[in-house]
Structure formats: C-alpha cells, structure tokens
C-alpha cells in the first residue's frame, strides 16, 4: 500500500526532476518503478518516520507559497532550485535535515534500481572477475 498516495507521489516526482535532471527523459514505467522503490522503502520505516516525511513534504511544497504565492511544484525550474538550495543550506537544522531525508528518498528511487547500473557506469560482476581475483 502506498504511503505517499497519488498526490504525494506526484510531488515526489516533481522533486525527482529537479534533483536528478536525467529523470526528465524517463518513460512512464521507469517513473513508476522509481516511485515504487521510494514509496516501498518508506513503507518499511516506522510509522513515526513515515509521518515525519509526509509532513515535511507538505511543508516543502507549501512553504514557498509564502514568498512566491504558489506551491513549489508550480514554480519555474530555477525558482524551484533556489528554494531547494535554501532548504539545503538552511541554518535551521530540521529543514536542512528534512531536505536531506527527502533527497535520500528520491535518490533511493532513482539510483537504488539495479537496472540503472549499466547507464551510470556501475557494473559489478556478481560471479567475480578473473583479472581482479585476490586472496
């Protein structure tokens, strides 16, 4: 069962597009798989953590409306990046940590998929490599 729900997932994907620009070219099935990995990982965390993440996503979406009169995902790309950078460097540790947690979720969904390895040059060989045999 989804922890984030359709709206939460849509917002997480909007964040994915800013944090991982190559995701813009992802076909629908890759987007679905990435969100499923992130949502599934969140589902395995304790209820308190799930609540904190949902709450922070809400804050991240709507706090920019105080300055821009629009939620984060309705801003232009450069403005979204400025907001995300502000959170990242915030002197308020909970905001910085919150963004770090959400970035972790996005990166887990995108980079945690084994099928991405070939594309980014990560190619471990499970059975090993004769040339690098050691011990």
């Amino acid at each position: 069962m989804s922890v984030l729900g359709p709206r939460g997932q849509a917002f997480l994907w909007a964040l994915t597009l800013r944090l991982v620009p190559p995701a813009a070219g992802a076909p629908p099935e890759e987007r679905a798989r990435s969100l499923a990995v992130a949502d599934g990982a969140l589902g395995r965390r304790p209820p308190a953590v799930r609540r904190q993440v949902r709450l922070f996503l809400l804050a991240l979406r709507w706090l920019p409306a105080l300055g821009y009169l629009r939620p984060l995902d309705r801003l232009g790309g450069p403005a979204q990046d400025r907001v995300l950078a502000w959170f990242q460097d915030s002197p308020l540790t909970p905001l910085a940590l919150g963004l770090w947690g959400v970035k972790g979720l996005v990166y887990m969904g995108w980079y945690g998929r084994p099928e991405l390895g070939e594309r980014i040059g990560f190619r471990p060989v499970l059975s090993g490599d004769e040339k690098s045999r050691g011990g």
Binding site: P22, Y111, I120, F122, S127, K131, S132, G134, G135
Partner: protein, 501 residues
C-alpha cells in the same frame, strides 16, 4: 504467532553472533563435549549463498538494521549496523588491523595490556586468513590513493584482509556473494556448530534476568528459517554473554532493569564519524572491480585526529552522500566508472553525554553530538583528501563542505577557501558511522564503567559483555579484530567460571 511462552534450557546464552559472539561461541564450543549446553541467539537471518544478490537496496534490507537507515536522535549521523548470522562481520570489508599500543595506553583499563590483546589479535588474524593482497590484485581506486599519498609524503599502509578466494566483486558491504570473506559466519560459527553449539537466528532478545533470557523468534521471509518455530520463549540459562554490538547491548541491559546501579551504562559512545569523498578522473577507475579497501593513511591520527581509507560505495549511498543536486550531481553520478573514493573517519573523544538510552518501547535511542573537535577533524580530513585526489590526477573533486559542488585542480592551491570550515555543520553534510564503540565500557570503577577488564558486568556474576561496547574509548583503527581479541578474553573468563562451578 502463538501466545504461549515456551521454555528452553541451556547453560550459556550468547546474545549476538558477530565479531564478539562468534569467537565466544567457538572458544566455548569444546565444552559441549562435556555436556555444557551453549546457545547463540541472533536477531538477524541466516542467508543462503543464493540470497547474496549484490543488489544494493535488497541486501541493505536483508543485512542491516533498518535497512542501513538507523539515525542518531538528532538525525545528523546514520549508523550502519549489520544484523545477520555473523553480525557486522558479514558486511564489513574484512580489513584486519590490530589495535595500537598507544590506544590501549589511552584506554587505561587496569588488567588490560597491549601485549595480551596483541597475542589474541594475532590468533584471529591467523584463524581468519588475514593477509596482504598482491600488487596485481589491487584495483585502480586503491592504487590512486597510494600514489596520491606517496606524492604528498603521507604515510599509507596496506590493510591485511581476511579473504580466501576473493573474486573481486567489490560487494563486501552487501555481503560477499562468493563466500570469500572470512567473517564469523564462515569461520567461528560453523566450527562452534560442528562441536554442538546451537545457533538460533531470527531470535530477538527482549530482556534478560538472572537465570533466563526472554526472546521472540520471527522469520523474516528470506534466508533459512529459524531452527525454532516463531513465538515467544523463556530461555533458562546459568550465564549470559551479551554481544549484540555497541547500540543493542547497552539497550538490552537498560531495558532489562538489572538489579544493580550502572551509571555509565550506555555512555561514552564513540562512532568514528565518517564522510565519503569522491573525485572524478578522466580515465576509467572502475572501483566496482577488485577488493574495495586496501589502504589506510594514518598520517594525521595524532595531529588532527582522523584516518583516511580507500572505499567504494554503491550508487544510492554515493548519491545520498554527495551534497547538492541537479546537473552537477547527476554528472558525477553518471561517471561511477571514473570515480575515486576516500572514507574519512574522525577519531572522536569518549564523552559521557554521547550515549545509548531506550524509549518507552525499549528500542535504542542514540544521543550523539557532533562537537567542534570532531567537525574540525572532518574539515581537516576533507582538505587532506582533496590534496590526495588532485595529487592522484583527479579532474574534479567533490568535498561535502566545498564552496562549489566541484573543485578543480586550480583550487588545490587554496583549499582552505574552497572548503571553508564554516560549512562543516551537522545537518549540512552527510555523516555516517559503522565503527560503533562503547556504552558498556570496561574499567575498574563502577561509577564510570559497566564491566571489569574481563567483560563481567559490575556486581552481576552471571552476566558478561563481549563486543565493541566494551571499548572505553575509540579503537582509532577498524575495530573488528580488537572486538575478537576482547571476546577471546571474555570466553576465557567464562570457561574458568564454568570450571570452578
């Protein structure tokens, strides 16, 4: 799960099967022939060879507590705790360095000397087949680190590693898929079982008391099923050896409400807080082939209190540890086969306020403050790492506290500006820890220690501790061989105790 509590009976229960529990089980195993019943109770699963898939997230869920996402209370440090048949020895890189004499002198535990620890460490280095890889077996990531250190005049030493038949998959931290790493799951535990010790996996110890452990058995849905059916058990026993690691051991003692006052319980926790630094080369580095960790640089251990080690991390962990996002981040992540990586570890002080407590459910809560001393060390470690990267020919360096996402060779002459100390702040940089130590520290005085020099808990002659929680201060080197050496002492004490009885 049935609600009835079932009884089991042993003479010695060992709680945990890692670098502490494994040696205790093996050393006590010969007593099985004399009728002494010994059980190892391990929370984690026992994986089959086919369960080691090398997939990052899947193996993290299988082998680490909370999938590797266990945080300190303020969420500024991520703690990696192995949880499996073999404990953290399943997921470390097998680097096998004994503790140094200067560190044992700093520990200042009456009755514990470096010669004794050294002899016992040698025993486990031999038993685990620790040796230096040959030159042809070192991968490019490791050679670059050595070259960089050499050209700067930094001392770098090669790690002995405990591998037999390593096929260089680089997947050590996800559990070796070829069974090459000689952790307790390959060496001590099978030998103990062969001699009659029972190892019960999927078994969480809820609390202990004189004469019994209260445990719950569950099957995780992968690996071999626990030898005991799921349910609750009271395990009657004469002696208990707690070896669940520096977080779980103090937590278990705390939630068990022992009939003695232990004011130091959970305190003096040290973590070797660590940063991952990454640099990009123009040519292939391919850290995903070969053993990932071959060198350590200890040139700054005394002057600035940090160590540098080679390392290789997987895509998600690497992405999470780069500070920043967007095109630069994606560019670096898209070049995993050209990345050089260094792990910087701060040698943190043992402070009473850094401690493990338990919440109302009995779950561990880790209170750890990254003090200025540690942040200074991490800053200096970033500067030294950047110098090593550039000296090794890197074209772009990412330092977590860098003023820009990428530093370039032109920045090498003004690194203090390019990596300002003010940007090294908890919450802004990603700090992890896998060397978790202290919480049940050894010592003579019950006011500032939990056990004596042989691991017996002050005032309780039926309870011992045998893991990294015994460390009174940081190990200042990768700790597992020292954990084994200390566990060997505890096993000796337990043996003598049983002989007297």
């Amino acid at each position: 799960m049935r609600s009835r509590v079932e009884d089991r009976e042993f003479d010695v229960d060992v709680e945990g099967s890692g670098a502490g529990g494994g040696p205790v089980a093996k050393e006590l195993a010969p007593l099985s022939r004399e009728g002494v019943r010994i059980a190892v109770l391990e929370w984690g699963p026992r994986l089959r060879d086919v369960d080691y898939t090398g997939r990052e997230l899947e193996m993290a869920e299988r082998l680490y507590r909370d999938g590797g996402g266990f945080f300190t209370r303020d969420r500024t440090v991520t703690l990696a705790m192995g949880r499996a048949y073999g404990g953290s020895t399943v997921v470390y890189t097998g680097t096998s360095l004994p503790i140094q004499g200067r560190t044992v002198a700093r520990w200042a535990v009456p009755g514990l000397d470096h010669r004794d620890l050294g002899e016992r460490s040698e025993k486990y280095l031999r038993e685990n087949g620790a040796h230096l890889l040959e030159e042809g077996e070192l991968n490019e990531n490791n050679r670059l680190f050595r070259e960089g250190c050499r050209s700067l005049g930094y001392h770098a030493a090669q790690f002995p590693v405990n591998v037999r038949g390593c096929r260089g998959t680089s997947l050590c931290n996800l559990g070796c898929p070829n069974g090459a790493k000689q952790g307790t799951h390959r060496v001590q535990l099978p030998e103990a079982e062969r001699q009659g010790v029972a190892v019960v996996t999927g078994c969480r110890v809820e609390r202990i008391e004189e004469g019994a452990c209260h445990v719950t058995v569950e099957n995780p849905g992968f690996g071999l099923p626990s030898p005991w059916p799921p349910g609750r058990y009271r395990v009657r026993t004469r002696l208990i050896v707690v070896a669940a690691g520096a977080i779980e051991s103090p937590a278990l003692l705390a939630r068990s409400r022992l009939p003695v006052r232990l004011p130091a319980l959970g305190r003096y926790l040290t973590l070797h807080p660590a940063l991952i630094l990454v640099a990009q080369h123009d040519r292939p580095v391919v850290g995903s082939r070969g053993h990932p960790k071959s060198f350590i640089c200890d040139a700054f251990a005394e002057s600035h209190r940090f160590l540098l080690e080679t390392c290789m991390y997987f895509p998600f962990v690497t992405a999470r540890n780069l500070i920043g996002f967007g095109a630069d981040h994606a560019a670096m992540m898209g070049a995993m086969d050209r990345l050089q990586m260094i792990l910087a570890l701060a040698l943190d002080p043992a402070l009473p306020e850094n401690r493990v407590t338990v919440d109302r459910h009995g779950e561990p809560v880790v209170r750890y403050r990254l003090g200025d001393e540690v942040l200074d060390s991490l800053h200096q470690a970033m500067l030294a790492s950047a110098r090593i990267f550039f000296a090794a020919g890197a074209r772009r360096v990412h330092a977590p506290a860098g003023a820009r996402f990428f530093l370039v060779p032109a920045d090498a002459a003004r690194l203090e500006e390019a990596i300002p100390r003010r940007r090294v702040r908890p919450g802004r940089i990603s700090i992890t820890a896998a060397h978790l130590m202290g919480g049940c520290r050894m010592g003579e005085d019950p006011s500032d220690s939990v056990t004596d020099a042989w691991g017996q808990v002050h005032g309780l002659d039926w309870l011992y501790v045998a893991d990294a929680s015994l460390f009174p201060r940081a190990a200042e080197v990768n700790p597992y061989i020292t954990v084994m050496a200390l566990a060997d002492r505890v096993a000796q004490q337990v043996r003598e105790r049983l002989a007297r009885a």
